[in-house]
Symmetry: C2
Subunit: 364 residues, 2 copies
Amino acid sequence: MERAKTDPKQTLNIMGNSILKDINSMKNPGIVLPIRTLSNVFFDEKHRIIRLGDKISRRTYLNVAHTRKFMQTLLVAAECKKIMQQNVSTSIRDMYYILKRTIKNTNENTFEDQNESDPVLEDLEAALNTLREKLHLKADRKGYIAGPIKIVDGEDTIDCTRMGSSGWAIPSNVEPEVIQFRDCTADYVLVIEKDAVWQRLNEDKFWKKHNCLILTGKGQPARGCRRMINRLHNELKLPVYVLTDADAWGYYIYSVIKQGSINLSFLSDRLGTPDAKFIGLTTQDVQQFNIPKNVTIKLNEGDKKRANEMLNYVWFKPKEWQHEIKHMLQAGHKLELEALSSKGIRFISEKYLPQKIQNKEFLP
Amino acid sequence: MERAKTDPKQTLNIMGNSILKDINSMKNPGIVLPIRTLSNVFFDEKHRIIRLGDKISRRTYLNVAHTRKFMQTLLVAAECKKIMQQNVSTSIRDMYYILKRTIKNTNENTFEDQNESDPVLEDLEAALNTLREKLHLKADRKGYIAGPIKIVDGEDTIDCTRMGSSGWAIPSNVEPEVIQFRDCTADYVLVIEKDAVWQRLNEDKFWKKHNCLILTGKGQPARGCRRMINRLHNELKLPVYVLTDADAWGYYIYSVIKQGSINLSFLSDRLGTPDAKFIGLTTQDVQQFNIPKNVTIKLNEGDKKRANEMLNYVWFKPKEWQHEIKHMLQAGHKLELEALSSKGIRFISEKYLPQKIQNKEFLP
């Protein structure tokens, strides 16, 4: 089920007109919002992503518990309309500053801090079934890519084989309206949790030798990075392999790339890549690749608790994951990507990754 | 006083040979290290940078208080030599992993965590009078640049006017051996604390309209970014203007860009840019530019304490800074760059910066 594509300008207008109509006919004006709590989130087995259910609520002006948030939602919506009309974009922090003011003849501020404006913006995204980027809002860019692809970004065309030691920084907004792909000849995308490892592979020109794109999200990938992976897979039909630490945080990063997150479940079909495969690390690699024990890290109580929780997650139910998580608990250790350096500085690029890819040693 | 340029390969060999000589003649082997504590740091009034003094200590093998650190220093030095010979580079985190092991027939590890290896590396930099980048070590890249300059990075030439919405990500290593400048036609460099503001200016192509380079360090600039500013100023003779929040943290960022930091005082001549000027924000801007009071932020006790300390710093002694800091304390507020957005989304690019630059309204 692909959600219907919507034009945010149009849906924003429909929302505004509906409120206007309510007011003109002396009705209590309100906005319909999907409920975004855990109670309204489910795992869509068929499409293998986390989805938002169909429970909705109505945020109305004359409900005193809603009045402040109703006002804030309209302020954010009006500002989005304005910047879209001016055809500029702004940051979510700027948006907060633009809208913050003391309401005339009161002591009340429209927003106290950015923690009030960010969730309202997510509500608006969910209500309009859109991405904040389509409302011309952006966050900091985060993450880098290199390899045989050209990126068209506005008037500029960026050749990702010619970006030196830095790679191309992935912007917050990678929607097709602003970012297009050209001349991609890569066979797959390798997504790497850690930038230091990405830099190692970039220095070795791994992407050239193995004809692939290498991409890092620098930890948990930001939205732009996840949307990029989603588009590279869906539009260019590239397989996606994910490389993280062998620990609960690494496995969580993989799961968010693959099936989306609970918090942004309304965006999973645009941010998730259910066909992504996990290339490593696993705690089973320690034995298979003869990694010295003293670079593994002992599990603490938090790690064990987290691993036991993960055993029950529906997306970790495949037997390969159950086996890996149980193995982690039994071995009593986790390990970071940098641990591979103990086998030599080029072990990861010349041995570990080529062997895993050649033998298709992936977790699902 | 420019420090004598040294070849780290050569000084590393001298250090190693000296230790070998000690051992062969049955002497206690040792390394001479500059003392890097506050007691050995001073402000060089003539060159307007923070300097390391000439107090030294000797770290020796047979002093039990030194033995472990002596061993660690030699391990780091040996690994640096190795990666320099292989002509590869690695991250400071990788370095730690490569060197971490249990010493044979003992329960002792060479390093317990990265907090042990990083300071040892700084000691080695100071002892060899070099940068870690010259020892082929790097950190994450941080910060971005755009504008009329071409960057030669290895085999690639990057045109910083054609980098789309992202800009060019500044790598950790920007030493002349790996990064060269070409065809720069800019009149000045604008250094911006916040990436969101950088993005605003990049979207408005501020660098094109005002013929400048725009650079952000994303908060406190990393070493690569500070070295980049230093080189742009010294090699291309570009004036440097710094734009930060009007708060103690922003003023501190400016001071580090300008005269270096206490911790890395041995690198100030390579990382500092004493001719840098402060373009804003100042708390005096609130009145001058009629910025609404409700986007200013009330000073808390910590802010006031910090401001009072700053009044005594030798680098904030110029009367303009004394006046600004006293004004901040008197007005009782600070403000962030985003506060300018309350005057309209393009106020910063079309009014604030052009006026300050045209009238040369800088703090020293």
